[in-house]
């Protein structure tokens, strides 16, 4: 008996995935709000409690995206990493430039630590969103 396998296996565009893209975009939004908060107080010291909270929420969202990403099935990891490595290269350059500007402006201590943490979340969240959006529709 012949069975048309293609009718039962959903194509890449029909498969449903956990909200990995939204979680990593949420992480990006959190660190951008945190960055605005830090920048709006410059050159004074920003309230670090609020900035730390935003960083922790952003990092948690990114971590959740990472955990979901590891557990997801029927997903082209080859395409994901192919896109991720290019995107992280571009975002590392941007993050390094921002970090350099903050160091050049004599940001130090806890403030610099929080800014560095936010930049780390930024550097990982954007490539995650881009690579996931591409890889979820890949067929290999």
């Amino acid at each position: 008996m012949n069975i048309d396998q293609t009718s039962t296996v959903p194509s890449s565009s029909e498969r449903s995935y956990p909200p990995i893209g939204w979680l990593s975009t949420g992480a990006l939004a959190m660190v951008i709000i945190g960055g605005i908060l830090m920048a709006s107080y410059a050159p004074r010291k920003a309230p670090l409690g609020a900035a730390t909270t935003l960083l922790v929420v952003g990092a948690s969202l990114l971590l959740s995206a990472g955990v979901l990403l590891v557990s997801v099935k029927d997903f082209s990891r080859t395409t994901f990493f192919k896109v991720f490595k290019w995107a992280i290269f571009a975002d590392l350059v941007t993050a390094a430039l921002i970090e350099f500007a903050f160091v050049r402006d004599h940001t130090n201590g806890e403030s610099l630590l929080i800014v560095t943490g936010m930049l780390a979340v930024f550097t990982l969240s954007v490539p995650t969103t881009i690579a996931f959006t591409v890889a979820r529709y890949a067929e290999d």
């Binding site: 990593s24 951008i32 050159p43 571009a90 921002i98």
Partner: protein
């Protein structure tokens, strides 16, 4: 624009693979120009080089705002009236260039803008420009989330899809809808940027 999306879907979903050259998602020829811009901005910040800071901010900001508004308000509607093959060919050549151009001009604008504000004392709470700058940070924040979290992933995904032997037109249409939904917000934010920056420059 809805018609556009449906047309693309009907054209590309079915039929034999098209014989067309592969799209280079990241145009490697553009990378040295982008790298030169990064080096120039870094030198400007490191040396506190007033002219270079202002040049990068004005040139980058002008290009960023100009390109966004031109593409959204002028090019977009024209594209909507082109034939589907013409539109697909245009997108295949245009979108990879945007992958290089937009991050470069955004980086030039933001990195130098913050330095200029700090140097001119606009970041101090007592400065008459302080509240305008906070408003501009918020505007840039909204645009950054839209650009990095919504549009750039869609742009790259469309290019990858167009490189497949038989692209899924319905999927391309769905991803392209993100540009339609966010065009209004981006346009408003760019106009707000123009108002804020001209206020800051004249106070």
């Amino acid at each position: 624009m809805t018609d556009t999306v449906n047309d693309v879907a009907s054209l590309m979903s079915d039929g034999p693979p098209l014989n067309r050259p592969k799209i280079q998602v990241v145009p490697l020829k553009g990378l040295p120009i982008s790298a030169a811009a990064v080096v120039f901005v870094t030198l400007a910040i490191a040396g506190n080089w007033q002219w270079a800071l202002v040049f990068c901010h004005v040139a980058g900001g002008g290009l960023w705002t100009g390109i966004d508004l031109f593409v959204g308000l002028v090019l977009g509607p024209i594209l909507g009236r082109l034939s589907i093959p013409a539109r697909a060919e245009f997108a295949a050549r245009f979108m990879p260039k945007m992958v290089i151009i937009m991050p470069t001009v955004v980086m030039m604008t933001l990195a130098t803008g913050f330095q200029i504000a700090r140097k001119m004392g606009n970041l101090y709470a007592k400065s008459p420009n302080h509240s305008w700058l906070i408003a501009s940070f918020c505007v840039v924040g909204v645009m950054a989330v839209i650009a990095l979290g919504i549009l750039e992933p869609a742009n790259i995904a469309v290019l990858f899809e167009m490189n497949k032997p038989v692209p899924n037109g319905e999927l391309i249409g769905r991803l392209m809808k993100r540009f339609i939904y966010t065009a209004g917000i981006t346009g408003l934010m760019q106009i707000a940027t123009l108002i804020i920056m001209t206020r800051v420059a004249t106070q």
